[in-house]
């Protein structure tokens, strides 16, 4: 019997580099949407406890080891990096293949995102582990600050080509600005 071959969403499109600021595609990891039912927050937190995590507040992400959980909407969070534990009291939906996950890192990361994301991403307003659902130009986006100059970006898998292209243009554009933009 033949076996299906897996392909990554942005395969062959990354890495990119502009003056030391880089864009890479993150390896495919399990992504599970967790949506607690009404009044089930405690049960969900208890189920997440062995991972060292809990259900995040709006705009919040939590990381422990390989696992990260990020708020993605009303009553909804994405658990990334580990297979989901049994979570009674919540709807779980596999999202592992629905998203292209990119990491933008470097001195120009914030300036490049300022070309595409209509959010205040200054450290004061968007500190480490802050997360938001927003737009990458016209595309739905999940953005999380994972370092002082590093952001994890998630866009629909089908839009990976456009996302990488637009990030590429923005990165090159800010790199070419002699005053740093």
């Amino acid at each position: 019997m033949s076996r299906l071959i897996a392909r990554a969403p942005a395969e062959g499109l990354t890495p990119l580099d502009a003056d030391g600021t880089t864009l890479i595609e993150l390896p495919m990891e399990p992504i599970t949407a967790i949506s607690p039912f009404a009044g089930q927050e405690k049960a969900v937190n208890a189920a997440l406890k062995p991972l060292g995590l809990r259900f995040p507040k709006p705009g919040q992400s939590l990381a422990r080891g390989k696992a990260r959980i990020l708020w993605t909407g009303q009553d909804q969070a994405f658990l990334i990096g580990v297979a989901p534990p049994e979570i009674p009291g919540a709807a779980l939906a596999d999202q592992s293949d629905g998203w292209a996950r990119l990491r933008l890192t470097g001195a120009l990361a914030e300036a490049a995102l300022a070309r595409l994301v209509p959010l205040d991403l200054r450290t004061g307003a968007f500190p480490l582990d802050a997360t938001a659902r927003s737009l990458l130009n016209h595309m739905p986006l999940s953005v999380t600050r994972t370092g002082t100059d590093s952001f994890d970006l998630m866009v629909f898998r089908s839009m990976a080509t456009t996302a990488v292209h637009e990030l590429d243009v923005a990165m090159r554009s800010v790199a070419a600005r002699q005053d740093g933009g």
């Binding site: 019997m1 033949s2 076996r3 299906l4 071959i5 897996a6 392909r7 990554a8 969403p9 495919m28 949407a33 949506s35 039912f37 009404a38 009303q74 009553d75 909804q76 919540a90 709807a91 939906a93 596999d94 999202q95 592992s96 293949d97 629905g98 998203w99 300022a114 070309r115 994301v117 209509p118 959010l119 205040d120 200054r122 004061g124 307003a125 130009n137 016209h138 595309m139 629909f156 898998r157 089908s158 839009m159 080509t161 456009t162 996302a163 637009e166 243009v169 923005a170 090159r172 554009s173 790199a175 070419a176 600005r177 002699q178 933009g181």
Partner: protein
């Protein structure tokens, strides 16, 4: 000419550029205007309507006259202000609106015809015959008038858009702006200081003023050095804030690389959206002119511009300069010029009591009544108490007072307030929340006043932001506010120009009032005063003052026209940066995209998705041949089609089944686990929203399928219903469209093909029609649905998207082994039309369940969204109902969009009985087919109607049929 010892241009760095093909040399730091003036070139362009010779009027962004086209051929930019454009090596500029040359312009004949061409002339003259306007008059007038022209080629220059955020946005970097930015910066606030000019400092660069005993520009440089050292201050030069929008959002245009050849990938412009908690408008003021006869000759300029050219660029428009003004500020010009060793031939002050001394002839209570010099000023005539005098002058510096740059304060429809003391409008406080004006923008004209005003605004802003304001030691600077007596126009014969860009004179404004256009907005439309690229910056207040005089209404009652964004022109390319070509919208690619492209399938856009239209084979000469083959292939063997683009919504919770009952017209709570059901969804207004199948994967777990087009809207609708109508219920929704790659396998051999990739084969007992369930697909967990959109036995097989490419290639290869293959959108469409299955061509937002013959699907046993309103009078009777059509006459063509008429009726609008929504050629039945909506159509099967396509000029007689043409019993799918 250049003036020795003046200016901050870098005289050690010469810069070569060309104007009208002639080579010029300026210095680094020059604008095109300063470099041309320094080279003795006073004539820059021809005017809009009368083709009068015009030169440089200002030294800033308000310039109405000195507009040029930069670049050449397809890479050119029209209407560039020479006063803003910095020169760089290789810059090419051309004059505008002159033919055959700037010096001799044939259309200057218009100037001789001017008695006939005044305001309102076009409106009165070119009225009849009506037809002639569009074809004859307008093209002629447009050719004769106008400024620069676009090349007509797409503008591919790189531009960008960007967002910025700050606590305090300071707009303008003169004394007020610098004081404000410095205090806020020292306080620790996040500050953006935006300066339109290429250097910070505002008027301090154009004046000989002292601050704290040092030249103003040195003080500015010191402040700037401190600001640069503060990490919380962002300096944005060459950045014009062009609009004030809601909630502290400001638009700004940055000229990133218009002053040099852009390096590499750098953009030429950036359109910023700056969100600021507070903002200070320190944009200064603009000097206005006084209208007098022939006041538009090259060499006649704002007095402040003459000082700017002298102090900043070391340039002057001529050796002999006269000064004409109605205020004390004008005197400064005469003094500065004299101090620079230039000849001041006259200082003319309209005020008899003006207090001024100086080493030049002074005329008090005097007015300029005419000037001489067609392509460049060489003299003027004045009238004073003692009589008249003729004065020699190559340059005339004019000051009619100052207008605060308050446009941004009016962008929320606030109106400015008239201040009699300075004869100018000042901002109305609080007209834009969070924005305060400071310095000259507030009508505070002294340097010390501006510094204090900026500091005060910073204090207020810092307090509101919760920062402690540092102490402020005001520096020493001149404190005198200049005296002024309003003087708008010099009475007398001839044309006195107000709006140089639109060639509007004092007489035009008066005529507007005489003809009843006495409101300022009407006067603007009648005369065109204040229109075009400069928006009348140098003429608006003067024009309305003259209008006020004429009507006797007074200036405060006359008011201003509406100030709208943008403050200065913004290229569409900047606002739409990144949007040209494929940048218009994201592209969504299915996992089978590469495999389809490999097979040379033309890809068509379906929403944002790209899907294969058909798969051409060698020897096939048209899409129809490929399409027909693919349809027959599905009907006879098996075909594979990517259907991943359909929306897939995961619905979970103990109230999920009840939720589906509420959003669908039919019942889903009775659906057994492991089964699918077709569902119809209405909007609140009772019309059909979408359709699709939903599968029950578990007692509390469904996956809903939507159409490709409505995936987003349905998700939004469900989320709204969940939150607004079913709060507190256990329903959780999430789109899983992107997670699954899903392929339709359709045709008599579809089970065989599916079993070729499943680890455990299925049979019809275990997997009957409308069954669904988990399967293992070549080692990968997937889902299988036995549903059909083709009327054939069919399955949809889904795997996680990472395996989509692999599974698609595998399915297609195996299908080919069975005599089948891939099929595209064209074949998919034909297959569903043959079966009478609907798409959004039919459910176009105007059709009801009744129209579709699906009213039986609205369950009587339960409520659902849209149920009540679907039973409104008029939605359940005498409607256009869905039917099938097949041609019966000599013409065999059916086209979507065509209208239907009774066979004997004339094809007129009032006789329309319906329209065709989908049409195709059916290779299965051997003739064209169409789905259509026809008035009371279900009762008319067998009748002959006439289809008329007025656009394509097709008229076809058709038989009305049942919409299901093929296999009406549906046995093939089961």
């Amino acid at each position: 000419m250049r003036v020795a010892g003046r200016g901050i241009v870098d005289r050690s760095t010469p810069v070569g550029f060309s104007f009208d093909g002639k080579e010029f040399t300026g210095f680094a730091g020059d604008t095109l205007a300063s470099a041309l003036l320094a080279s003795g070139q006073r004539l820059i362009g021809r005017s809009f309507k009368y083709h009068r010779p015009r030169g440089v009027l200002t030294a800033g962004s308000e310039e109405p006259n000195a507009l040029v086209t930069t670049g050449r051929d397809t890479d050119r930019t029209p209407n560039v202000r020479a006063t803003v454009q910095e020169i760089y090596d290789g810059l090419e500029a051309q004059s505008q609106n002159a033919w055959p040359s700037l010096g001799f312009d044939a259309l200057a004949v218009n100037d001789l015809l001017s008695p006939f061409l005044g305001a309102g002339f076009y409106y009165k003259t070119f009225m009849w015959p009506v037809k002639f306007w569009e074809k004859l008059y307008e093209p002629l007038i447009r050719r004769a008038a106008g400024l620069g022209a676009l090349s007509g080629a797409p503008d591919l220059a790189p531009r960008e858009k960007a967002y910025a955020f700050c606590d305090l946005l300071v707009i303008g970097s003169g004394p007020a702006g610098l004081a404000a930015a410095l205090l806020a910066g020292r306080a620790g606030a996040d500050v953006i200081l935006a300066e339109e000019d290429s250097v910070f400092g505002g008027r301090l660069n154009g004046e000989a003023l002292q601050i704290d005993g040092q030249p103003g520009r040195d003080w500015a440089a010191a402040v700037l050095a401190e600001l640069q050292s503060l990490p919380n201050v962002r300096l944005m030069r060459r950045t014009t804030v062009t609009g004030a929008y809601d909630q502290g959002t400001y638009a700004a245009l940055e000229r990133v690389n218009l002053h040099r050849t852009p390096p590499g990938d750098a953009p030429i412009e950036c359109f910023w959206r700056i969100v600021a908690k507070r903002a200070i408008l320190a944009a200064g003021a603009q000097e206005r002119m006084i209208a007098f006869r022939n006041n538009d000759r090259p060499g006649i300029m704002q007095a402040s511009a003459v000082r700017s050219y002298l102090h900043r660029f070391g340039a002057v428009a001529g050796a002999r300069v006269a000064v004409f003004g109605n205020n004390d500020d004008a005197h400064r010009t005469a003094h500065d010029l004299a101090a620079a060793g230039l000849t001041v031939t006259a200082l003319i002050d309209t005020r008899p009591d003006a207090v001024v001394e100086g080493p030049f002839p002074i005329f008090r209570g005097a007015e300029v009544i005419n000037t001489a010099g067609r392509t460049g000023l060489h003299g003027l005539s004045l009238r004073h108490a003692g009589g008249k005098a003729d004065i020699e002058a190559d340059c005339l510096a004019v000051s009619g007072g100052w207008n605060p740059n308050l446009a941004l304060t009016c962008h929320h429809n606030g109106r400015p307030v008239w201040d009699e003391k300075i004869a100018a409008f000042v901002p109305r406080p609080g007209s834009v929340p969070g924005l305060e004006a400071a310095g000259a923008a507030l009508g505070v004209f002294s340097t010390r006043g501006a510094l204090d005003s900026g500091a005060n605004c910073a204090k207020t802003a810092l307090q509101a932001l919760g920062f402690k304001c540092p102490s402020w030691e005001p520096p020493e600077a001149e404190e005198a506010e200049p005296g002024i007596t309003a003087h708008w126009a010099v009475p007398g014969p001839g044309r006195a120009w107000l709006d140089m860009q639109n060639d509007v004179t004092v007489k035009d404004v008066k005529r507007a009032a005489q003809e009843g256009f006495s409101s300022v907005e009407h006067m603007k439309r009648y005369t065109t005063q204040g229109m075009a690229t400069d928006q009348g910056k140098t003429s608006n207040v003067s024009a309305l003052a003259i209008l006020a005089d004429t009507t006797g209404n007074g200036i405060p009652a006359t008011g201003t026209t509406t100030y709208r964004p943008p403050f200065t022109p913004v290229s569409i390319g900047a606002m739409g940066a990144g949007g040209w070509g494929m940048g218009f919208a994201p592209q969504r690619f299915t996992t089978s995209h590469a495999a389809s492209v490999d097979r040379d399938a033309p890809m068509v856009e379906v929403g944002l998705w790209y899907r294969p239209s058909y798969f051409p084979r060698t020897g096939e000469s048209s899409w129809r041949e490929s399409c027909d083959r693919e349809v027959t292939m599905v009907r006879e063997t098996v075909g594979v089609c990517d259907v991943s683009t359909l929306g897939k919504i995961d619905i979970q919770g103990k109230d999920a089944a009840e939720f589906l009952d509420f959003v669908y017209t039919n019942t889903f709570s009775t659906l057994p686990v492991g089964k699918c059901r077709y569902g119809l969804m209405l909007r609140e207004d009772g019309f059909v929203m979408d359709d699709g199948t939903s599968a029950r994967l578990g007692p509390e777990h469904f996956v809903m399928t939507t159409t490709t087009a409505a995936a987003g809207p349905v998700m939004k609708h469900l989320e709204f219903v969940r939150q607004a109508f079913r709060p507190g219920k256990d329903i959780r929704l999430i789109s899983v469209t992107e997670h699954w790659a899903q392929f339709s396998v359709a045709g008599p051999k579809s089970r065989e093909l599916v079993n070729a990739v499943l680890d455990k084969p299925i049979d019809d007992d275990g997997f009957p029609f409308m069954a669904c369930g988990a399967v293992s697909v070549a080692g990968t967990p997937g889902r299988l649905f036995r549903i059909s959109f083709s009327g054939e036995r069919a399955y949809e097989i889904a795997v996680p998207a990472r395996y989509g490419d692999s599974l698609y290639r595998l399915l297609v290869a195996q299908a080919e082994a069975l005599g089948g293959g891939p099929y595209g959108m064209e074949a998919l469409n034909v297959l569903r039309i043959e079966k009478g299955f609907i798409t959004h061509a039919e459910i176009d937002g105007r059709t009801t369940a009744f129209d579709l013959g699906l009213q039986g699907m609205i369950s009587k046993k339960k409520d659902c969204i849209g149920k009540t309103l679907s039973a409104r009078p008029g939605l359940m009777e005498d409607r256009e109902e869905m039917v099938g059509l097949k041609p019966v006459g000599g013409v065999m063509q059916l086209t979507a969009g065509a209208h239907l008429f009774a066979a004997t009726d004339k094809p007129l609008r009032q006789n329309v009985q319906g329209h065709v929504t989908s049409a195709c050629h059916s290779p299965t039945l051997g003739h064209p087919l169409a789905l259509a909506f026809l008035r009371n159509g279900r009762a008319r099967h067998g009748e002959t109607v006439k289809m008329v396509d007025h656009l394509r000029k097709i008229e076809t007689l058709c038989e009305v049929t049942h919409p299901v043409f093929f296999d009406p019993e549906g046995g093939r799918a089961r």
